[in-house]
């Protein structure tokens, strides 16, 4: 073995662990999937000591390693770069830094056998950057990282070439596009550092009527950076509390900030392209989850190819820190070919789970065909297959599936999930058919771009089209995702439509389903018609009607 490196993100939120062995990412998972606490923990200085213990232990167990086998633990924050409260505005900044300095000892306690001297600190934005350039696997590229904050900055512009990284610009705090977007999220009554995607969705309902003041407040400098001045939010639209009805004014505010964000990103990309001479861009950081902005960069920016790391938020720094140190140790990381890096259970284990839960189920000869048939009958199916996804998107492993042809399936899914009705759901499509249905950058296997739906298809996939005529698609390539691809092909064979609605398998405010228990709990608590878990199918009717008059439960496996 050349190198085994465990990456850890624990500083702000989305705590996560990732394991890289001999340059191969063998496991990566967010702590929330184990602890069932959304985002793992709140992004407060007080919580900095909390580590992704469960995720880290699982990564090691999955690889058959112990903590003593690790050549390094890469922690995605470097306390040597940290600044004080005067720089960040957080009165508890020193506490955060103190906890990080102690992290090696915390880690040694959480992972018995680990030598604390093996813990290396990797700058937060370098970890983000490494996750992107290693994942993309391009020989060289421009690198753009934007998020709320790292140690002292909120941005990194760099150049990856000849196996190295040169940081060309880093915007220092307090200027932060990510924090500004978080403030807006909070002002609109959503949860900051969590619900920014809701703001992005709301922006589609508004007009950028407040773009002029936003241009005054958010500027771009000539050295690859930007400025963000304090925004008088209340003067632009009244503050909303959680659950308040939003008005067109609020949508206009969201649209205006979104539009200015996109303008600034385009300018930063222009500077970066000129400075590096590159035609490829890799991106990470929470802002890179803004698929509307990503699409505008792809459409109007100077780069010919863009790759975004699927766990672009802070969880991704666990991966990037690990790949960065792996490269330092002489084991160059290999290209990322899948986001399915989490837990899975084999058929026998799944059967044991179902028997243990006392639910009737049957084994399908071909679960893909069975599910396609149910979807074509307009049933909603929970789909739990293979390894869980790394990152915030459901990519056909922990998904809730529906027929896209019926417009009211959007409302139905939002009701099942208990979430706002303005939220869109996304389509998955066979890669070979994607260009026929959607415009925009293809392939798009990680749902990080939006795509205009081509004329003639809007009504055919009505449930999957957002109010602005776009959809955040996932393209499915049979070699990479054979089961999902077969399900899509079977659905097309029955309906003539190569698209299925895919949204994350969870209900509002909860982490995505990960293990079979989570799947059964979600299935039992929401009006989902079927649960397809491995080769097994559980139907809602039998789930609740199986109890006979005698009170005996039907536990048999029906072939």
């Amino acid at each position: 073995m050349t190198a085994a490196v465990l990456g850890v993100n624990a500083v702000f939120h989305d705590s996560a662990a990732a394991l890289v062995v001999d340059g191969e990412v063998v496991a990566a998972a967010e702590e929330e999937r184990f602890s069932r606490r959304k985002h793992g923990k709140p992004p407060l200085a007080f919580s900095t000591w909390e580590l992704p213990e469960l995720a880290a232990r699982w990564c090691l167990r999955h690889a058959g390693l112990t903590a003593a086998d690790l050549d390094a633990v890469a922690y995605s924050y470097d306390p040597a770069l940290a600044i004080g409260k005067e720089g960040t505005g957080d009165p508890w900044e020193e506490l955060r830094t103190a906890f990080v300095r102690r992290a090696p000892r915390f880690l040694a306690t959480a992972l018995p056998g680990l030598d604390p001297a093996r813990v290396r600190f990797v700058p937060h934005h370098v970890a983000h950057a490494a996750s992107a350039y290693h994942g993309a696997g391009f020989p060289s590229s421009a690198v753009l990282v934007l998020d709320g904050r790292g140690e002292a900055a909120s941005h990194l512009a760099g150049h990856r070439r000849d196996g190295g990284l040169e940081v060309l610009a880093a915007q220092r705090l307090p200027h932060s596009l990510g924090l500004l977007y978080e403030e807006l999220t909070d002002h609109l009554g959503f949860r900051r550092s969590s619900d920014e995607y809701k703001v992005m969705a709301m922006a589609s309902y508004g007009r950028p009527a407040l773009l002029a003041p936003m241009r005054e407040l958010i500027g771009v400098d000539r050295e690859g950076g930007f400025t963000t001045e304090p925004v008088p939010w209340e003067s632009l639209a009244p503050r909303l509390a959680d659950g308040d009805e939003w008005t067109p004014r609020h949508a206009d505010l969201a649209a205006s900030v979104q539009a200015r964000l996109e303008e600034v990103l385009l300018e930063l990309c222009g500077w970066l392209a000129e400075r590096t001479g590159e035609r490829r861009l890799v991106m990470a950081g929470g802002v890179a989850l803004n698929c509307v902005a990503n699409s505008r960069i792809a459409r109007e920016g100077p780069f010919e190819e863009i790759w975004v790391q699927p766990a672009a938020g802070d969880s991704g720094t666990a991966l990037g820190a690990a790949t960065f140190v792996s490269e330092q140790l002489g084991a160059p990381p290999r290209q990322m070919r899948t986001a399915a890096l989490g837990r899975e259970w084999d058929e026998a284990e799944l059967e044991a789970w179902l028997r243990g839960a006392g639910v009737p189920f049957r084994r399908c000869d071909d679960v893909a065909a069975t599910v396609a048939e149910r979807l074509a009958e307009d049933r909603i199916v929970a789909w739990h297959q293979g390894r869980s996804e790394w990152g915030p998107r459901a990519l056909g492993h922990r998904s809730l599936l529906a027929d896209p042809r019926r417009a009211d399936n959007l409302e139905r899914l939002n009701e099942i999930k208990g979430r706002e009705q303005f939220r869109p759901v996304a389509p998955m499509v066979l890669e070979s058919r994607a260009a026929e249905v959607f415009e925009g950058p293809l392939p798009s296997p990680y749902m990080l771009f939006t795509h205009r739906v081509r004329p003639g298809w809007e009504d055919r996939i009505a449930a999957a089209v957002h109010v602005d005529g776009t959809a955040r698609i996932q393209t499915v390539e049979p070699a990479a995702e054979p089961l999902v691809a077969r399900m899509l092909a079977e659905f097309e064979r029955r309906t003539g439509v190569p698209v299925v609605v895919n949204t994350s398998l969870n209900t509002a405010g909860r982490p995505m389903v990960d293990d079979p228990r989570d799947a059964l709990e979600c299935f039992g608590s929401a009006p989902i018609d079927f649960l397809a878990i491995g080769p097994f199918l559980v139907s809602r009717g039998s789930f609740f009607a199986a109890e006979g008059e005698s009170g005996e439960r039907v536990l048999s496996v029906v072939g």
Partner: protein, 134 residues
């Protein structure tokens, strides 16, 4: 012998990363010469010579970089010539962050480092090493 050499290289890089002139001098020949190739950062093109030169090198590093981490990944030896492939990660407020693959060629005399040179392009070091007598 190869293991001894790897261990010796490990000690050298630990000492360099620790910015410890005494520890560096302990495993270097009195007449050691080191070509850092960091002329731009250090404002110096001459090699660092002898124990005094090593102290100057450590001082120049400390002045220019808040952090320097040199990681030797592979070590090869041909008689008295040692090729080290690895990476350098440097960070400073003024000069920013860089993480690059590099190689070093070291020459030994009686088990101590006599001459060292940094190669920003590892292929150059490999070519020089290939030309070294077997």
């Amino acid at each position: 012998m190869a293991e001894d050499c790897t261990a010796l290289v490990g000690r050298l890089f630990d000492a360099l990363n620790g910015r410890d002139p005494a520890a560096i001098a302990e495993i270097c020949d009195e007449g050691v010469e080191f070509f850092s190739r960091a002329d731009g950062a250090f404002g110096r093109s001459a090699p660092y010579s002898g124990p005094g030169g090593l102290r100057d090198y450590v001082a120049d590093v400390a002045r220019s970089w808040e952090e320097v981490l040199m990681t030797p990944c592979e070590v090869e030896r041909r008689r008295e010539v040692v090729l080290v492939r690895g990476r350098v990660y440097v960070r400073s407020h003024e000069l920013g962050i860089r993480d690059v693959p590099v190689a070093w060629l070291w020459k030994l005399r009686e088990g101590r480092f006599l001459r060292g040179e940094v190669f920003p392009d590892p292929r150059e070091a490999e070519a020089r090493f290939a030309a070294a007598p077997v």
